[in-house]
């Protein structure tokens, strides 16, 4: 039952539908046995990429390789790839056990061989005893478990999941995420999990692949996207709201109000981004701080969300709940060089 | 699937083929065996249709009158019934739905033979009214089913909104409910019209041969030796259904419930 996980390599994959480009020149490599989240907003090409990996769509350009061997030209039904769709897509005319054993039956295994594997799989997804149920009698969560079991019983070398829990309510979603993670850790299949929810991606995956507008916008551990986002768009997707426009000159970012922050970017116009929780407030001035006035302070449960008006625009700052700030008060906002990132821009500052 | 496309073409050709001799005979003057095309074309077929002695024009009038009345009456009866099964969930609803469909499935012959004698007794036999009434049998179930499905999809909030704005029940029905149901009403009315237009046995039995609708005339013409007359009449009978279904084609798209009525034509 152990799957021999395979590495996945996409090289220059492109796909268009009519005039719209769904995926443009996508290249990425997933190590064997990894658990990667494919993250991005709706319409960014994630599902299309998955469909191409599964063989339901053919790319117009580029290559797809599984374990080093190209998959182009291999029909979907012959690829050692399993795909769990957004909807469970269980066969309504078959029972739960027959659904789970479907793939094995297509491969020609006899009923005697299929039954124990189906039973074992149902145990792993905690659906013991439901084998004889008909599909219409299941809840949403149970249906997705059956879909998972159906995909995993085939011991695929690559497991693809296309936002499989987006139709379930939040507690169930958390449960199912944990289940998928546990199943992966047991079987170590290479897993690619598509989602548009960045919190989900961060929680469940080891690595994140970010796709924006059909292109690769970043690939790495979740920490990377928070501390050192690869592009401005990636930073924005991950919730950065503070952007300070300025320019870089000999390793230092400066803006018009006198802020100076170290960075290693080539000279030229740039924008500096920093997360609200990374900004620090203090009473003293320093080269990397901006003077400002607090215009709003909202209690947000775990922190105070401040809005500070500065010469470089309004900045959002998260501070501990017991910080001594008041609306209208003056303070300095420090921008730590290690927690901020600068990106080159084309417009002059 | 290399064999799929040519087989489909063959099937479609086969479906359209039988209509060809009908059209050819309708316009032929002389078409003796073994000619593959008529030896002589003529407008005799058309002339027969317009000849008052052949009663075709009065047949058109009778058929149209009956079919329009049946369509209107069936929809008027089907509308409240459809509301009952579409809007309310009540015990026995499934039974009612089944009973509603029974006249569609069970052949009308047995039913009509049974009540024929009552039509005679109450003086409804050999009358247009009697024929209209008996033709409600295959049409009301269909109207109720189509309108029932439409009511099930109707958002009642529109009506409640109208009532809240001061509209009385009749005004609400006329100005809110019926316009919202318009596609389904058109569909139901259309099919009731066509079912009635094509009906033969019920008209024969209750009309006792006195109420001469087009199907009755056609039946007689087929039995006669005048093939051209029969074919011309056949084309006349087929034209309104073809036109109406063609026009309503867009309404039919995606409504498999409508298809059930088509088998009845």
């Amino acid at each position: 039952m152990r799957a021999s996980a395979a590495s996945v390599e996409l090289a220059g994959i492109s796909k268009r539908f009519g005039d719209t480009v769904a995926v443009a020149d996508l290249s990425l490599r997933l190590p064997a046995g990894s658990f990667t989240a494919l993250l991005g907003p709706s319409g960014c090409g994630k599902s299309t990429t998955l469909a191409m990996l599964a063989g339901l769509l053919a790319p117009e350009a580029g290559d797809i390789a599984l374990g080093g061997a190209s998959l182009l030209g291999v029909a979907a039904e012959r690829r050692p790839v399993s795909l769990v769709f957004q909807k469970p897509l269980l066969f309504p005319h078959l029972s739960v056990a027959q659904n789970v054993g479907f793939g094995l039956r297509m491969r020609g295994l006899t009923r005697r061989d299929i039954a124990p594997r189906v039973q074992a799989m149902l145990e792993r997804v905690q659906l013991v005893g439901l084998g004889a149920r008909r599909v219409g009698e299941l809840s949403g969560g149970q249906e997705q478990r059956v879909a998972l079991a159906r995909a995993l019983v085939l011991a695929p070398r690559l497991l693809l999941l296309d936002e499989p829990f987006s139709q379930l309510d939040p507690e169930l979603r958390a449960e199912m995420r944990a289940l998928v993670r546990a199943l992966h850790d047991e079987a170590t299949t290479t897993t690619l999990f598509v989602t548009h929810d960045r919190a989900e991606a961060v929680e469940v995956a080891d690595d994140i692949v970010l796709m924006l507008d059909g292109r690769l916008a970043g690939h790495g551990r979740p920490e990377l996207f928070y501390c050192a986002p690869p592009t401005l768009e990636a930073a924005r997707f991950f919730g950065v709201t503070n952007e300070i426009v300025g320019s870089v000159c000999s390793g230092c970012f400066r803006d018009r109000s006198g802020l100076a922050v170290r960075c290693n970017l080539a000279d030229g116009p740039a924008v500096l981004v920093v997360r609200p929780e990374a900004l620090r407030i203090s009473g003293t001035e320093s080269p990397d701080s901006l003077p400002g006035r607090v215009t709003a302070a909202r209690f947000a449960g775990t922190h105070l969300a401040l809005e500070v008006a500065t010469a470089s625009g309004a900045l959002g700052v998260h501070v501990p709940v017991d910080s001594p700030v008041q609306i209208g008060g003056h303070l300095h906002v420090r921008v730590p060089a290690e927690a901020s990132t600068a990106f080159m821009t084309k417009q002059p500052s | 699937m290399g064999w799929g496309r040519p087989l489909l073409a063959l099937l479609i050709a086969g479906l359209l083929l039988p209509l060809v001799p009908l059209l050819a005979w309708a316009v032929s003057g002389q078409w003796r065996y073994p000619g593959l095309v008529p030896q002589r074309l003529s407008g005799r077929g058309v002339r027969i249709l317009t000849d008052p002695r052949s009663h075709v024009l009065s047949g058109v009038f009778t058929s149209t009158l009956i079919s329009v009345s049946v369509a209107a009456l069936a929809c008027a009866i089907g509308l409240p019934a459809g509301r009952a099964i579409g809007v309310y969930r009540f015990r026995g609803r499934r039974l009612v739905q089944f009973l509603l469909l029974a006249p569609v499935i069970v052949p009308g012959l047995a039913v009509t033979l049974g009540i024929q004698v009552f039509f005679i007794h109450y003086g409804l036999a050999a009358s247009t009214l009697g024929v209209v009434l008996v033709q409600l049998l295959p049409t009301v179930p269909y109207a109720a089913t189509v309108l029932g499905a439409a009511f099930a999809n109707l958002d009642l909030d529109y009506e409640r909104q109208a009532r809240a704005l001061g509209s009385g029940p009749v005004r609400t029905l006329v100005f809110v409910t019926i316009p919202l149901l318009r596609p389904a009403l058109i569909l139901a009315g259309l099919f009731c019209f066509l079912i009635s237009w094509n009906e033969y046995v019920l008209t024969l039995l209750v009309g006792a041969g006195q109420v001469q609708t087009l199907p009755l005339l056609l039946f007689a013409a087929i039995g006669s030796s005048d093939t051209t007359a029969a074919a011309a009449l056949g084309v006349l009978v087929v034209l309104p259904p073809l036109l109406l279904i063609g026009l309503a084609g867009r309404l039919l798209a995606g409504r498999s419930g409508a298809a059930i009525g088509l088998g009845r034509l």
């Binding site: - | 699937m1 083929l17 009973l99 029974a102 069970v106 039913v111 029905l173 084609g249």
Partner: protein
């Protein structure tokens, strides 16, 4: 419509009022007609003073070889045309679905003969399949036959070929568009799911597409069978008077000037009704057992 007059009508009463016109039509005409036919088959004669209940009519038709032959030809014709219509309709629907371009107008063409009334269809078949009809003339021209009599008798024949042809011709698009409607409802997604699970095209067809098509096609086939078993015009025009189908026999007996034959006409009509009702009940029971999904 009385139900709208007062919104304070109790619910049960409102439903009853809404259903009442339709209930009158169905109750009086349909149920009344069927029960009258049953009663009259047992000898009941409304509006006549002297009648007596008996099972003579049923005994007569049971013993009558003509009726047995009629039952046989009715079943044969209905079954054959239903099977042909179901197979051709499903095949056509699958082929149409596989079309990449032109699906719209092909579907339109496919549905043309749905509008043609059965009466006209019977005429078309006579003109096409008769021994001096168009096909006969084509075979003569092609040298395959030498005279009208040499062309096989397809209309007015013992087997009922002409009748089968007309029913199959009319009902294939009927089953076809029901199958098409069923195919458009998410079947493609399920086929994709099967594909990813390793099913080849043939396997997908066999294990996903056809099982999903089975319930609506079966329902349509029941309708086709019931209709074929009960119509009058087509078997009268395209068949012969012996053996005639049950509906033709019923009508013939009904119009017989000998009124004592009338109960037999009713008995035959009751047999037709029983046949179709049993069929529908059997189908509903089977459908519930197999999938639990309604049409």
């Amino acid at each position: 419509m009385p139900s709208f007059r007062s919104s304070r009508l109790p619910r049960g009463l409102r439903i009853t009022l809404l259903l009442s016109p339709a209930a009158v039509v169905i109750g009086v005409f349909f149920l009344g007609g069927v029960s009258q036919a049953v009663a009259q088959s047992f000898g009941y004669q409304p509006f006549l003073p002297d009648y007596h209940w008996s099972t003579d009519a049923y005994r007569a038709i049971w013993l009558d070889p003509a009726v047995r032959a009629s039952l046989l030809i009715t079943l044969r014709v209905s079954l054959a045309s239903t099977v042909i219509a179901a197979v051709s309709g499903v095949a056509a629907a699958l082929a149409i679905r596989g079309l990449r371009r032109g699906r719209g107008w092909v579907t339109g063409l496919f549905q043309v003969n749905l509008a043609v009334p059965h009466l006209v269809g019977a005429l078309c078949m006579l003109l096409l399949l008769g021994q001096s009809g168009v096909i006969a003339r084509l075979t003569l021209t092609a040298g395959l036959s030498t005279s009208p009599a040499a062309f096989p008798q397809l209309t007015g024949d013992r087997f009922g070929w002409g009748i089968i042809a007309e029913y199959a011709w009319k009902e294939t698009p009927f089953v076809g568009i029901i199958a098409l409607a069923a195919l458009s409802r998410g079947v493609a997604d399920l086929e994709n799911a099967a594909r990813v699970l390793g099913a080849t095209q043939w396997q997908r067809r066999r294990h996903v597409t056809l099982p999903l098509l089975a319930p609506p096609v079966a329902a349509a086939s029941v309708l086709v069978f019931a209709f074929a078993a009960g119509t009058y015009e087509v078997p009268y025009l395209l068949g012969r008077s012996y053996p005639a189908t049950l509906s033709v026999v019923a009508l013939q007996d009904y119009r017989d000037t000998d009124l004592s034959v009338r109960p037999q006409a009713m008995a035959v009509a009751v047999v037709i009704t029983l046949l179709t009702t049993v069929l529908v009940i059997a189908y509903l029971a089977l459908a519930k057992r197999l999938s639990g999904r309604p049409l």
